[in-house]
Each structure stands twice: as C-alpha cells, then as structure tokens.
Symmetry: D3
Subunit: 224 residues, 6 copies
C-alpha cells in the first residue's frame, strides 16, 4: 500500500551544473505553465537558489512528518527534497532538526508544499535552502506512513523522482527528466539573447518590437 523507493535515476551531473546558471523564470517560460509551481511557495531567504533532482516525499496524513524524517536519511548529495504536504499551512512538516539531518547527507535544498517550524533557525543557522508556504509554531505528529519517491503534487505540479527542480526568489519550476536537456539548453539560449539585447545599446522599445505588434492587430484605435 505504501511504497518506499530509495533510489531512482538522476539527471547527468553536468546538466545539473549547467542548470544552476540558468534563470529560473526562463526555464519556466520554456517548460510551459503546467510545470510552474504555485507562486505562494517561496524561499525563506531572497538570495537562495537551488537546482537538482527531485527526491519526492508524500505523507498519507499531512499533519505527520515521519516520512520527511525518514527521507533525510536517504537523499544523495545534490538531491532536492520535494515534500507534498497538500498545501497545508496550519501544521509543520519540516524544521531545523530535519534540516541538519538532510545536510549530513548532502541535500541541496527543500521544496515543501506546506510550512516549516523553527523558521528563524532555518533562515540563519542551518544553511539549507528551503522553499515553502511560510512558518508556523505548531508541529504535527511523527508516526504515520506514506510514500518515498512516488509521483507527488507540489503547488499544482506533478513531480516525479528524478525530475529537475529549479528554484529562486521568483518561484519553483519542475522540468520532467526526459525534457531536462532540451529545456536547459533553451533557457541558456534565451538568457544569452536577453543579455545580448541589453548590451547592444539598442533601446528596449526597439528591441521588444511590442509597438509594431500592437499596431498590426485589427480593432485597435490609436488616439495619439
């Protein structure tokens, strides 16, 4: 009934390295709207950024963190814990002790569709980037089962183990593993094009071509 999968196929480490330098929002544009996580899931610090394969966690009861605790022992270096707490905001599914446990195993970050306990310690002491719906002073239990590395939902997106997770202050984007190479390449190209444009000396208005597009749409009346 509950399956605990502790290993899965991960993307090529070289690709993950490249992904760390991609603008998350450009990856979001390339991968499409259904892969962009609900924008209420945000980093506890503006300057945090992560890229890595998803290690998925799904408690059967969203007010119990046993599955999160077990997961911290099975992540491999560079993994991103993606915890599906059903969007719950009244009860914690992660905190400073678990963060310390995850760091012992090289965890690269956490994306939690829920809230954390000990937010201030996570923000200032632990050093593990965490993206979530906020902080809370209420903890749940730690005694109930669930799934590790089954498909989960995070902020309205289906996440499979091994999908590439990118996150910064704009939000979280999930790239399905079989599209990871393609999407990273497209996002790199889009980033380069944007930098080139800004360095070209041409004004934004010329570069964007927006006015030209608008003038070509029928039924638009200009009063200038």
């Amino acid at each position: 009934m509950y399956t605990i999968v502790t290993d899965f196929e991960r993307p090529d480490p070289a690709l993950v390295e490249r992904a760390k330098n991609v603008y998350v929002c450009l990856a979001g544009i390339e991968v499409g709207p259904r892969q962009c996580v609900d924008s209420a899931i945000k980093p506890l610090r503006h300057d945090w950024k992560i890229a890595g394969p998803a290690f998925t966690v799904r408690p059967e009861y969203t007010d119990d963190s046993l599955m999160s605790r077990v997961a911290t022992a099975h992540v491999k270096p560079g993994d991103v814990l993606v915890i599906d707490a059903g969007g719950r905001t009244d009860c914690s599914n992660f905190g400073a002790s678990m963060a310390a446990g995850a760091l012992e195993n090289g965890c690269a970050g956490v994306v939690l569709d829920g809230v954390v306990l000990t937010g201030q310690m996570l923000r200032e002491e632990e050093g593990l980037p965490i993206f979530c719906r906020g902080t809370v002073a209420r903890n749940g239990g730690g005694a109930k089962p669930g799934w590790l590395n089954s498909p989960v939902i995070c902020g309205g997106v289906i996440v499979n183990p091994g999908d590439l997770v990118l996150a910064d202050d704009d939000g979280v984007v999930v790239v399905p593993k079989d599209r990871a190479e393609d999407i990273v390449s497209r996002a790199e190209a889009a980033g380069q094009k944007s930098r080139d444009g800004r360095q070209s000396g041409t004004s934004y208005h010329v570069r964007s071509g927006a006015e030209e597009k608008l003038r070509a749409i029928p039924g638009v009346v200009w009063q200038d």
Copy 2:
C-alpha cells in the same frame, strides 16, 4: 474596440512634489476607503515610496504583457504605470526588461494588480519601485491587445489616467485628479498636527482623548 491613448492631463508638478512628502496613510484617511488599494499589493522593497500621475494599462487577457511593454515607451518622466492584471498571481505581467524600458523614459514607479517575473533583479538592480502581489516564475504571452489610459481597476479601486498615485510600505492610495490639491493639503495638515502632538511632551493618552470618548458612550460598564 481597444483604444490606445498616449497622453492625458497630469497634475501640477509642484503638487506632485508636495505629495512626495505626505504620509501615504494620512492621504488614505482623507480620501476615503474606496480609494485605498487592496493591502496585498505591496512594494518589493520596504523602503520604496512613490508619488506621481497614473498612466493606466489594461490588457484584455491578463496572461499577456504586450500592453505593459508598449506602455513603457509612452510614459512621461514622473508617471506611475498602473497595470490592471485582474489580481492574477499565476502569471507575470512585468519584469526586468520592461523595467529597464520604463526607466529609459523616466517612469517613477509601477503599481501592478498582479505579479512580476525576475523579482530579485527588480529588487536589487533596476531601481524602479514596484508595488505588486509578488513574484512568479511563469511568464505569459506578449501578443494580445488591450487599452492604454482607459479607466482600470487596481486592487478594488477605479483608477483614471492622471489620478495621483501615492504608495509606500503601507500600501497604495489613489487620489482622483480633481481632489488632488485638496487631499494633499489635508494630509499635510494632518501630518503637521501629528508631529506637533508628539513633540508637545503631552502623553499620547491625553492627546488622543480616547478614554474621554469611551466614557461618554452609554452602555459601557467600567470595572476598574
């Protein structure tokens, strides 16, 4: 069907200068509750503050930013872009490239009833004060029509082009242009009265007269 108005009557620049020194919340008290924007629209940085005439933008489709892009080319120095994205939080209507374009034309700030892309760049690099519902990693299209400088809705308030927009960390207040002189004067007076009170050495409790008021209300039973 879609009207593009590129110019409109602006308030007296001297009045705008005075407005920059007014407490936004005092202007909000004077102008009344229907002119105070939904408090979920906030600056990306606590220390940002703006005052200037509204240049209004209204896309027909709230997941398309063509109208925002075109608008950045038509703002005049000191204008505040007010973009009506219908309160949408799953898709961006503004970002760093548009901010750069708006700054090329002297834009004084943006109030967006929606969310932005590239929030970290907007917060740290561009320097254009932006008030919005947050950040997101999903962009929409840039190909669909709408209106410039028609009446729009922003956080539950009707905004007309040329209305005076005041905004700080408390929120955004919209002063109709024909009431701007009166409201700014009243807010200045209220600010002066408040400063005088605090400097008078009299305690808040004496100054406020609150207890006296409460004691005068029938049906209030004191148990002290």
Copy 3:
C-alpha cells in the same frame, strides 16, 4: 453591554522570565494545536520575540480603533496587547501613535488579528514588537465601544486576559494561565533534550529513530 476591565491576574513574573527563553514552537507542541494562532499572523520584523500576559481588546466594530487606543493607557509593564480585529485586512486597528502610547506604559508587544497603519515607522522607529496580518494605508474610525479584558479570538484561538502569550517568527502560541507553569517546564525540558541530541555527536537519523518507526508499520513496502 460593554465591559471595561482594567486589571486581571497575571502569571508570576519569574515564570514570564523563564518563558522568554523557551522556543515558541516547543511550547506550541506541548500546549496543543488549539492554542497555536493562525500562521498568517507574523512579526513585522523577523527578529522580534515576545513573552508576557495577554491584555485583551475587542472592538464591537472591527473598523474602529477606539478600544485599542484606550487599552494603551491601561496596560501594565510587560503586558502583551491582544487585539481581536476579526482577521480584517482592509482597515487598520493599530499604528505608530498608539505604539508610542503603549510604550509609555511599558507594553511588551502587540498581537493583532488584523493589520496596522504606518508599518515602516513601527518596524524602524517605535521599538514595540508587533505581530499582525500586515500593513494597510486605510484607517478606520476611533469612536465606537467594545470590551477590554473579556475573552477574545485571535487567529482562531480563544484568549483570556492573563493567558501567557509567546511569539516569534514562527508564530504565536497562547498558554492558558492555569497551564502556564506546566507548559513552560515541558518546553524547557524539550529544548534541553533537543540541544543535548545535537551536541551528542550522534547523527540525526539515529537520534530521531524515524526509520525504525516506519519499518514497524504494517503495509509499508520497501523497495531498496
């Protein structure tokens, strides 16, 4: 109809001192879920923390702050104002002038189920820790009655005058006065146990015993 109670039994000051060193979230775990305030009520600054007896304020009309104003004159040193504004976010019930008044009487902090005006001044100048749902530029009136030190609701929790209020960046926890001694002692012990664990050199995974618990649950299938 409206009762104004200006004094009430407070917890032992020595207990309040001990409570200041307790982790708020540990107190939340000990006191149970019904005493943990809605996590949307947060400090205006991450580093603020308060502990003290509740002085409760309940306006009949949530868009009127007369009762908050009167309350600031009756708090005793160390009291925490708990203002029940019904969760309202479109209209302020507290601001910088009231904060100054409260500080004149030694108020230790404010927990408001509502929003404040002059957020930036409260955050940077006044020095009174404030926990609330955010800031707004709209003020209400200051002319209507209510109750002081009756039972109130704050973020879904019933608060009685004299209850011990603990708050930090995770949120707000309300400890009923007759359980205060017991809960503070338990939270102290839990904090000590947590510190001991982390200093023991044993890994989190061994200490937590999580995997052992999961392996003991029937119906869990391991695929490792």
Copy 4:
C-alpha cells in the same frame, strides 16, 4: 487537561419557544456583529430553521470526530450541538449515524464549523437540521479527546454552553445567555414594526426615510 461537562444551565423553555418565531436576521441586528457567525456556515436545506441552547463540542484534533460522537449521547431535548472543527473543509466531523444518535436524544439541530459526510442522507432522510460549511467524502478518525461544554469558536463567534443559538437560511446568530431575554424581546418588536410598516399601505420610500437622511448629510451633491 480535557474537561467533559455534561450539563449546564439552559434558557427558559418559554423563551426558546418565543425565539423560534423571531427573524434570525433581526436578532442579528440587535445582538451586534460579533455574535453573527461567518456566513459560509449554511443549512443543508434552505427551509431549515433552529432555535435552542448550545451544547458545545471541541475536538483537540479537527480531523477526529470522537467528541461529536460522545456528545450525541449527552444532548438533552431541544439542545443544539455546536461543533468547533476549526473551519476545516477537507475532513468530516459529522454524518448520518451521528445524526441518528443525536435524534434519539431529542437534539434540535447542529451547527458545525466544518463539513459533513453523507450529506444527501442528512438532507433527505434523517430530519435533523444541520448548518455547516458543506459536504465531503473524506472521514477522519474517531479516537481522540477534546472538550464538551467548554467555550468554543464557531464561524468567528465565541459560544458558551447554554447560549441561545438561532439559525435559518441567512445564517447563524449566537445570543449570550444573559442577554437572551432582552434580545428576543427587541427582535420581536423589530419584527412587529416591520410587519406594521408593510401593512400600512405607505410606500417603502416614505417609511424608510432614507432620502431624507441622505439629503441631510453635508458634501452630497444632487444632480437631478
């Protein structure tokens, strides 16, 4: 820690009878805004109406219905079960079996700040008027403690055992027991005045006096 109180003082049965003929909304006007329950709590059938003393139920964990189950055995004829499930809508706290149990003891109705299971059976078979936030197909557990007849919160209102609960399709109003006689009398008088007005043959506009009031307010400009 958890107190189970099975009896409490109830209002005079003659007063409850009178309360059954009062318009709920008129009682709401008389008793004031803080006693009117969140309007999302509605009857499962438009034609249901209840009046009776509150028998309060408060589970410590809102996904557990043991306390509701026990309560059904202790209600006295005419009592209204008021169940504080914290506004939760993802998990049931009441259903057809409990309704049958409550009816065995003469329960007059249920007001639940939560949702029910077996909504269609409750609506068509059981005959017990139920006011709640809706229906759900998920049940919780039935094994955890809580309180009977302690103060509870229902839709933002504090309810004490023995308070007079009035409810119809407009919503639920809670009248504190010591104000019950007064409020029922006032609501009766207001109902009579309203009926008299409509039967007088005078038009609503003359009776209401609204225009006169508006014309007396300064700053109102008529353009007719």
Copy 5:
C-alpha cells in the same frame, strides 16, 4: 464629494427586449473577458434571468445600506440595480424591504457585489431577481453617504450607468452601452448558429472540428 445622479441615458427598449432572449454566456464570449463578472456572484434562484440598463450604487462604507435604500426610489421600470459593496460577505447591503421598494418602481433585478439579508423571503416572496455572493444574518447601518450612477466595480468589472446588464445562472455580463447593439447582434447570431448545428443531425465531433485543429498543431504525438 458625493454625487447623486438620478437619471442617465438608457439603451433602446427594443434592444433590451432582444437582449432578454440572448444566451448570457454567448454575450460573454462576444464582449470579452474583462466584462464577465466574478462567477461567485450568482442568482438566489437558478431560474432567474435579467436584462436591463445598470442603475449604479456605490456606498462609501460597504457596511452601510443607505445608498441602496435611496436608489430603490429612483430606479425606472426595467432598470437593474448594480450595487458595489466591494465584495463584502460579512454584512448585508440589501434585503426584503428594499426589494419591495424597488419593485414599487418597476426594478427588473439586482446585481450586488456583496450579500443579502432575508434571503429566504427574497427567494420565495418578493419576486425580484437578485444576483449576489450569498446571504447573511448581519445587517450594517443605514446612515452614510455615497454615489448614485457614478462608475462602480462589480465582481471585477467596471460598470457605468446605462450599461446593459445580462445575467442568468452562469453569471453576469456587462455590455458597455456603446457596444450593446453590436454585442446583442453577435450573440443572437452565435445562438442561431449553435441551434442550427444541433438540429443539423451532424455529430458534435464533425461540427466542432476540434480533432482537425489538434492534429494540425506541431509537437502533438498521437498514440492511437
């Protein structure tokens, strides 16, 4: 400051008659997304339907119904009252007495961005179609000013006096008066085309041409 306009230009009565036979959702498609009111504003009875010019009402304070009361005396036969109560759901802005007053003057219906009192009487006795966010047992005051026939906001749409309001169980659509003739004609044609299609005997799948469209989109892989 507050303007009371009692008359305004109305659409041709013949056009209003035609509009009564149009499918509201087809008018919604033709007039565009920014004219379709928030779908939470619904009729109190599924079978109610209205079409008529907007008579707009805007209270300065959304918990006061003086403006609604005055408006009922100034509507002309066939007018639709559009009341902007800011989306408020905790306090009524309309009820049975006002409905009776409005019917005395031939009012054709009410669209309220708020909630009503005496819902059951409105639903069963008065006979005035009402579209709103629901019912509530709390009334506000009746003493404060506002505007009649100024622009208002209703469910996210700007409504001007004289705009054509169409409403049925799907929701409410606002047609600007200068587009009314065009939109009604387009909606009539779309309705006719839909009826013709269904009567043609051709299957939906052939008529809709959906599969053909999908097969023409690049990047779509069929596995059938």
Copy 6:
C-alpha cells in the same frame, strides 16, 4: 511534447457495476485521504452519482477547451471524463455542446477541476452528470494543445487513466486501478455493517462505543 493516448486499460465492468452501489464516502474512508478530491468540486445536481474509469484530459492552457472537445470523441461507453483545468474558476472548460458530444459516445459523467458554461442547460437538459467548481459566463478559446490520458491533478489528487472514479453529493473519490477490487470490497462490507447496525435495534451510543473509548483516554476529566 504533448501526447494523445486514446485507449487504456479499464477496470472489469462487473467491478464498476458493484462500485455503483457503494457509498462514495465509505470508499473514501477505505482508500485514504490523499484520494479524496477537494470538496469544492460538487455535482450540479444533488441527485447525481457516477462510477466509472477515468479518461483524463489536461490542457496546457487552462483557458482553452480544445482538449475537452477532442476528448468527447474518444471516450468509450461508461468512461468518466476527468478534466484538469487547474482549479480555475474564471473561465469555462466545458458546456452543453461538449456534453452532447460526450453523450453520443456513452460518457458516464464528467469531473472537472474548473467551471462550466451553460450550467442551466447541463442541469436540466443534457442529462450528463457533471461535478465541477460551479458555472461561469465566460468562455476561453478552443485552439491549444495538451494531453489525453496522461496523469492529471483533480482537486489535489493525482488521477491516472483507468482509475476508478466514484462521485456523489459528498464529493469525488479516486481509486487507483490496482486497488479497485480491494477498496470496492471493503466499502461494500462497511456499508453492510452500517446497515446491520442501524437495523439491530441497538442505540447508536451502544453501537458506536464512543464513550467507552473516551473514558479510556488519560487526562480526560469528567464533570457529570
């Protein structure tokens, strides 16, 4: 990039027949909380009930119904369309024409995480049971791609093609195909036990054993 799968493995028709007689909420209890759809997704008529295999539909853009239209041509008799419109309520993804198309192919019902157009026609004329978040007067486009019979999200639950969907007025429950036989059997047994209990003549209070359970919990103080 977009995959269109038109066939998939369906559960045994005999099992589906049995499932039609099961109480949906009992199936919900057996299958666990993560398989119970958000309770805001409800039938347009209280008396509608469905059971059948899921045929899943996922548009890339939630304001476009091309995928729903194509799906209606590929359902097989008894299938339930499960349409993932991301919970969107401002724009329709289904309506009367599509319902007619689906019925031509024997569709057994629709579960839509979104809203419909032409609600009144769907409710009274078409005869296809529809579960959704409500009705709206705004339609989107019909021109954009997506997926058929990939995994989708519906009201917070992951649905795979061929999963058994059960729905009535309480809500929607999704039974994974490999657990369908087991869950249906358990729900049948639970239903039988409940009927036996009620027919036994024993009171609910004896049968439920609730009081006994509560009396066994330590820390519960009885005051009777």
